[in-house]
Symmetry: C3
Subunit: 138 residues, 3 copies
């Protein structure tokens, strides 16, 4: 059995949004007990990341590390037409995930105790991001 | 329904090749309307990356960032038998993707407007790289 | 056909363990000839990585690069309650993979000649890590 649905997430600019609940809601409609749930972000300047959902400092620190490793306005970059955060967003997207496949067990995302799935907006300005959720299972 | 096929891509040395069309061609043979298409590179010194396909400077800048973050000939590395680009290629492969799962919708790869799937050769010399494309769907 | 099983891997602290054989064993029970095998690590401070299995120096060098790029005890980090290796473990987990999908061909993981699947423990202390293996195929 296959079930596919799109989600549209309005981001508030650079940072993370927990989308675990919205993906679980799609999965619940799929009526699949066991299998996989693939989440794909249809953009090259936003990412998906599975990380700790307990302490928000984890995402703050991840952002701090990325900001230092891939600084905005780096003179290394030539693709700068859309601003100093444009090319860093593409590098971040290459380093994190565009597509994440989560296991499904007993009709639920089989995440660990502290795991959440986050949409990571890399651009400074808010965007509406399109996610495609595809559930495969039985 | 499952369909699997191998692609052999001749790279020209370090850099990116757009393989979206070749993967779409495999998908078209699969006669699957909705599902997922997994692409796997059977090597540890080349990667897959989903990134912008409009401005080639994006891939040039991504390469520039990787060259600075994981420099060839870094004295940190001991695995140097195959040359100064050998171990950096493995680190780049760990940072980017060995396996990418793309959603399939209406028989097409459901990529965003500016997204392409690229094979990223990390070695300086040209290689023939083997991709395994597995389509699962209905 | 879908087959899902959990693996519990006792790590010895920071470093890599080859789990290819254990994942192949799950696959063998699945009696699936062609398809995909997803491996998911249910933790945010350990990763999966597909890399060279021939020369152990490759994993030593990968660890050396990560230790330099994401140093323990970095004053950048605020999420430090569990120690100097806590937040670096989360950053490493974001950079490497939480979920890897491998192709299955003739009932075997269709890996390249030198490819192995490794569990990468990022914490300094030993942990027991839970992997969820989901095989989809025919």
């Amino acid at each position: 059995m296959i079930h596919q649905e799109e989600l549209h997430i309005a981001t508030r600019g650079r940072g993370t949004d927990d989308v675990t609940g919205q993906v679980q809601a799609v999965l619940s409609e799929a009526e699949i007990t066991v299998g996989t749930c693939n989440v794909f972000v249809a953009h090259t300047s936003a990412s998906l990341v599975v990380t700790e959902n307990a302490d928000p400092q984890v995402r703050r620190d991840l952002e701090a590390w990325l900001s230092r490793a891939v600084p905005d306005g780096d003179p290394l970059f030539r693709h700068t037409a859309e601003g100093p955060d444009d090319m860093p967003a593409h590098v971040r997207a290459a380093l994190l995930e565009t597509s994440v496949t989560l296991p499904v067990s007993r009709g639920r995302l089989a995440l660990g105790t502290w795991q959440g799935l986050f949409l990571f907006e890399h651009r400074l300005a808010p965007h509406t991001r399109r996610l495609i959720v595809t559930v495969v299972g039985a």
